[in-house]
Amino acid sequence: MTLPTKPLPPAVQGSADGSSAPGVPFSEIETVRAKEFIPPAKEALRDVLARKGTDSLIQPVFNWAGRNSLFPLHWGLACCAIEFAAAFGARWDAERFGIVPRSSPRQCDLMIVNGTVTWKVAHKLITLYEQMPEPKWVIAMGNCATGGGPFRSAYSVVPGVDKLVPVDVYIAGCPPRPEAMLDGILRLEHLIQERRE
């Protein structure tokens, strides 16, 4: 079975003997295609602007761009970090949602707190959160980050990470499966889409 394919423009099809085909070079083909795309896009944009006004359009555009490229901070505290890592593996492949873990908090807009937070590490968590640029969101992943989990009344454990930073989405589970984590991120994307400054 062959998939239906769009025939390529004749300029990029080489001749049968492998010699370079005459005509338009490949790079100019791309330019031509982009140029073909621009007028209808401009027309559509002008149409939308005329109907809704500039201000009401810009925020949704930023929301749309932001929610489709969430960069979580690449760090792990406990066993939830294993599920976090598994979500970026081949089976669940979180990068298809545009979620790319970054190693520096200055490149991130999402902090996924995956594990038990102790009072000893609390000030480091706050420092990392403060280093992230605005706008930023926090997901409490798992029971420990949500409310302390089985260690809630322990002397060394923060009873829920919302005592330290504002949390947008809570994910239950001990640990949550990668599907649950992805579901939490998709719910956060809905929140971001409805955001109004």
Binding site: W119, A122, H123, I126, T127, Y155, S156, V158, K163
Partner: protein, 168 residues
């Protein structure tokens, strides 16, 4: 088929506990044989440093495997487990300090590995180790007001602590 283990000559002869009793007659209060150990020795708290130095330098106990503590309400016990590669066994040292002012000389100068063990005992049980190079809390943040493994510590519904970041 069960093969007999070679006799552990160093552990048996000369008897380590008898040697210790003879060498430190004032400081060794009690010696007991324990299964799994070369023996258990109860010491006067003031004698911990000379006894440990003797055990390390002349009785092949080159490794301090553990320093821990026990809260007995009136007193606090400090327990040391020393390992000897030649004897293939642990020796347990124990001493009791009063709960009003629990402090004992640090052995971190003899075994550097005892440093964090003593910090843990200070953190969780409030036993001070004199002349310790860096006696800070190990597991809990600085400024925490309890020593939570004490019997007097009561579990409570958690209240948020004040957290300070480094630049504050």
């Amino acid at each position: 088929m069960v093969t007999a283990l070679p006799p552990n000559t160093l552990a048996e002869t000369p008897d380590l506990l008898a040697v210790l009793r003879e060498r430190f007659p004032q400081d060794v209060l009690e010696t007991t044989r324990r299964p799994g150990l070369l023996g258990r020795v109860v010491l006067r708290p003031e004698a911990i440093l000379p006894v440990c130095r003797y055990l390390r330098d002349e009785q092949t106990f080159a490794h301090c495997a553990m320093v821990g503590g026990v809260d007995w309400k009136e007193t606090r016990e400090v327990v040391y487990h020393l390992w000897s590669d030649e004897r293939k066994g642990y020796l347990e040292l124990s001493l009791r300090v009063p709960a009003e002012d629990p402090h004992v000389e640090s052995v971190a100068g003899l075994w550097p590995g005892a440093n964090w063990h003593e910090r843990e005992a200070w953190d969780l049980l409030g036993i001070r180790f004199d002349h310790h190079p860096d006696l800070r809390r190990l597991f809990l943040p600085e400024g925490y007001e309890f020593h939570p493994l004490l019997k007097t510590f009561e579990l409570h519904e958690p209240e948020p602590l004040e957290v300070k970041t480094r630049h504050e």
